[in-house]
């Protein structure tokens, strides 16, 4: 029994199902928030998979997702901002919960891996993930108010 894979499966299944529900139903504002939370749910799962399969190279996937996931959310935040029906909403409770999940996974992997270059990379991914998640939430809660037509 590989506990890391099990944990990754639970994070992927639970977070993925919740994000899928959010992204397919409800008003547009809620869907974008769910899209943002996808990154924070799947990225820890990818880190846990890398540990579970014993393949440090798989960490690159989590690195790319932590970098590009928030960029994708910024795309939606910016290009949906001109829509008349889009009201600004925020879900700070969920955002902080997702950030806590990312931090918990990164800390657990750092403890398991011990100090070294891998740990620096893990910490960088954690910073990118949590920072990107918070900034994307901030952008959704009215980061592009002055953008009209651009």
């Amino acid at each position: 029994m590989n506990g890391w894979i099990l944990a990754a499966g639970i994070v992927l299944g639970g977070g993925g199902a919740a994000a899928l529900w959010g992204v397919t139903t409800g008003p547009p504002a809620r869907r974008v928030i769910a899209q943002n939370l996808t990154t924070s749910a799947v990225c820890p799962a990818l880190l846990l998979f890398a540990q579970g399969y014993g393949r440090p190279a798989y960490v690159d996937l989590a690195l790319l997702l932590a970098l590009l996931g928030p960029v994708g959310t910024l795309v939606f935040a910016r290009l949906l901002s001109g829509e008349p029906e889009r009201e600004r909403t925020s879900a700070w409770g969920l955002t902080w919960a997702a950030a806590a999940l990312g931090a918990a996974v990164v800390v657990a992997l750092c403890v398991a891996g011990g100090p070294g270059r891998a740990m620096v990379k893990l910490l960088a991914i954690g910073v990118l993930l949590i920072g990107g998640n918070l900034i994307a939430s901030r952008a959704l809660a009215g980061g592009f108010q002055g953008v009209r037509g651009g």
Binding site: G9, A19, L46, D60, L64, G72, F76
Partner: protein, 91 residues
């Protein structure tokens, strides 16, 4: 290795998420909402490739699907909407 079933279980989870999200993306009518579901679908597809031990393909999917495809779709949507608006203005 013992407990090989957990390896298969995560493949099933990822497959189900991909199937559900891809169907949902087709069912949506509004292109902007489709782009949202598509970006979700791209991320879980990359995860499916990872659990099938194909990280190279997963990386390609992640690079293209998480930011580039939504940007291209949303820019096209914006262009079409703007065109519709300017036609209404001249009328």
């Amino acid at each position: 290795m013992g407990g090989g079933d957990v390896y298969d279980a995560v493949i099933v989870v990822a497959l189900l998420l991909v199937a559900a999200s891809a169907t949902a993306a087709v069912v949506q009518r509004d292109p902007a909402r489709q782009a949202l579901v598509l970006s979700f679908s791209g991320v879980v597809l990359a995860t499916l490739f990872t659990v099938l031990q194909a990280p190279d393909v997963g990386l390609s999917q992640l690079a293209v699907g998480s930011a580039l495809t939504p940007l291209l779709i949303m820019l096209s949507v914006r262009k079409i909407r703007r065109r519709g608006r300017s036609k209404e203005d001249t009328r």
